[in-house]
């Protein structure tokens, strides 16, 4: 798909989302969450481009969400909370990244999982600080100093999520085309060759990792703002698995696929998770297997294939 078509598809998709949110008010919440997850998934895509998968990225989501929860009682401005939480999350990403950068593939994935499990347990056990599984309720944040309530607050968060999603989609698209992004594919093929060319592989991956932590943080902030209740479940491995799932479902190579996957996932979840709560992971796992085995391009790949066939006919 060429760039112009992709921009067109992006704008069209955004318009559909706004229309949906307008037509059915209860969808606003669901779509805001979907956009937030799409932003997080962009980070997973960056890492997948380098052939690495993190089973612990929900940790960064939770770091940002809890940062919002801790700062909000003192300062309620949403447009300041967002950059603050994102920077905290990115800083955590840098710190942890410096350690996990020494590892690839299995170790990379599992160390991220292990660290996120530790973080989850700490959130759960340090009751005096985090209130354990009860979580923390947030006061209603303000937008540009204005107190918003009800529908207007929901619209504000939705708009914020949409703008962020658009910005990050463009950023990631440019990043992947830039040398720093192109080198990611080199890590996947053979990192030693990259280094023989004078490109430091660790730095390339670290940059992508920190960016992915930043995006996970932005997504986490949106989640905190929209649900106004943060719990340790945000950091649990199932949440990390969900992100990897959406990335593969949407189509591991594409920016738009991340959002397509996230919206389809969230809409399905609203219906299915309530009725099939005990089998939800089972369904996710099965679909993940089917996509990997039979449709490696994901939903986006299927859509592209259909378009191409239409053109040929």
């Amino acid at each position: 798909m060429n760039a112009r078509l992709e921009i067109l598809a992006g704008i069209l998709g955004a318009a559909v989302l706004v229309l949906l949110a307008y037509a059915a008010p209860w969808l606003r919440f669901v779509l805001t969450i979907a956009l937030a997850k799409g932003i997080m998934v962009l980070g997973i895509l960056l890492l997948l481009r380098a052939g690495q998968v993190s089973f612990g990225h929900a940790m960064y989501v939770a770091i940002a969400a809890y940062s919002v929860a801790f700062i909000a009682p003192h300062m309620r401005e949403a447009l300041l909370l967002l950059p603050l939480a994102a920077v905290i999350s990115a800083a955590a990403g840098l710190l942890i990244g410096l350690f996990v950068m020494r590892y690839r593939e299995i170790f990379f994935g599992m160390l991220n999982l292990a660290l996120s499990m530790v973080f989850y347990s700490l959130l759960e056990k340090l009751y005096t600080v985090t209130h354990g599984t009860d979580g923390i309720r947030l006061p209603v944040p303000t937008f540009l100093g204005r107190e918003l309530a009800g529908a207007s607050y929901e619209w504000a968060v939705f708009a914020l999520a949409l703008v962020l999603a658009a910005c990050f989609a463009v950023v990631v698209r440019i990043y992947l085309a830039a040398p720093l992004g192109q080198a990611l594919a080199g890590i996947k093929t053979r990192e030693a060759r990259l280094e023989f060319m004078g490109v430091p592989g660790r730095f390339v991956l670290l940059a992508a990792y920190v960016l992915s932590a930043l995006m996970a943080g932005c997504g986490g902030t949106i989640i905190a703002l929209t649900s106004r209740h943060v719990t340790p479940a945000l950091a649990y491995w199932t949440a990390s698995g969900e992100l990897v799932f959406i990335a593969i479902l949407g189509g591991a190579g594409s920016v738009l696929g991340a959002f397509l996957g996230a919206v389809v996932y969230e809409l399905t979840r609203v219906y299915a998770a309530a009725n099939l709560a005990d089998a939800w992971q089972l369904i996710l796992g099965s679909v993940l297997l089917l996509v990997i085995l039979f449709a490696p391009g994901g939903l986006f790949g299927i859509a592209q294939g259909l378009l191409r066939r239409r053109k040929a006919a």
Partner: protein
């Protein structure tokens, strides 16, 4: 230091006994994970689920025995039978149906396939055994308790925890070391681990060995679960914590190490139980702290060998 020791000597003694028991069960899982990785070059994320399924199966078999009025001592062989069942049924199924299909794919996709399997198995457990804690304490009650003297105090420990669990783990360790070094099958597995192509060119059916090893590894995981089942009740999510914990053991020891895994398991088991007595909140963090500290100094693990980089 001495004063602290005499004050806390009792606690330390308790911690050591508890730690050895938890080390024993985690060792079984970690060593299976290691074996499978060696031959398939896949880290099986679903390995922790096999542990959980082994534990649940053991509980179900024991429940069947007691409710049908069969002799209770049968609950001991039931532990082994449960492990064998899980290994023989699920092992070849997973290897042949799933892993073989993605053999030639990128490593990241292989990792994702086992992750998908893990998601599936976690819910399968919930569907079969429910979300309420399941316990299997018959084998433990049968053996009774032993009073362990600590200075002036006497603390009762279950004989199961003191002897059966560490005993079987030790037996597994020695048996495995003997099997890998002294039997033909064991040496063939080592050959395939070291160099698959060279082994195949010598006429070894590496596909068969792969399936065999995977089944064996699955059995070890299930045995670890079955053996741990009398000591702790099973709840959903036990698979997730087991895979991360056994990964911590494997990473600390270095991939592919059998004896190393035993030492790392003891280190982590002791670390955990000492934390339980001193700072209970930190219990979950200690294994990873040990792992991270080891990895910072030796990225390949305590006993691991560095792989040469390919160009």
């Amino acid at each position: 230091m001495m004063a602290w020791l005499s004050d806390n000597g009792l606690l330390l003694g308790l911690a050591v006994l508890d730690g050895l028991a938890s080390a024993a069960s985690i060792f079984m899982v970690a060593v299976g994970l290691n074996l499978v990785f060696g031959v398939l070059r896949i880290l099986n994320v679903a390995h922790g689920s096999l542990y959980a399924i082994g534990a649940y199966t053991a509980a179900s078999i024991t429940l069947f025995l007691t409710s049908h009025g069969l002799p209770v001592w049968l609950s001991f062989p039931a532990l082994v039978v449960a492990a064998a069942l899980v290994g023989v049924i699920l092992g070849p199924l997973i290897e042949r149906v799933l892993l073989k299909r993605v053999e030639k794919q990128e490593p990241v996709l292989q990792l994702l396939v086992t992750f998908a399997l893990f998601m599936i198995l976690e819910d399968v457990q919930k569907l079969i055994w429910g979300v309420q804690p399941v316990s299997n304490d018959t084998p433990m009650r049968l053996l009774g308790t032993i009073d362990v003297p600590f200075g002036a105090d006497v603390i009762p420990f279950t004989a199961y925890q003191l002897f059966v669990l560490p005993g079987i783990a030790l037996f597994t360790l020695v048996g495995l070391a003997w099997f890998m070094r002294r039997t033909l099958t064991g040496r063939v597995i080592v050959a395939v681990t070291t160099d698959r192509e060279a082994a195949t060119s010598q006429g070894i059916d590496s596909a068969k060995i792969t399936m065999l090893t995977f089944t064996f590894g699955a059995m070890l995981a299930a045995l670890g679960g079955a053996l741990a089942s009398p000591m702790s009740s099973m709840v959903p999510g036990v698979g997730a914590s087991t895979i991360v914990l056994s990964f911590a053991v494997v990473a600390t020891a270095g991939l592919g190490q059998v004896e190393g895994a035993a030492i790392a398991a003891v280190m982590i088991g002791l670390g955990r139980s000492i934390a339980v007595y001193l700072e209970p909140e930190l219990e979950v963090v200690v294994p990873y702290l040990i792992m991270v500290l080891v990895l910072l100094v030796r990225p390949q693990g305590l006993f691991g060998v560095t792989e040469t980089r390919r160009i």
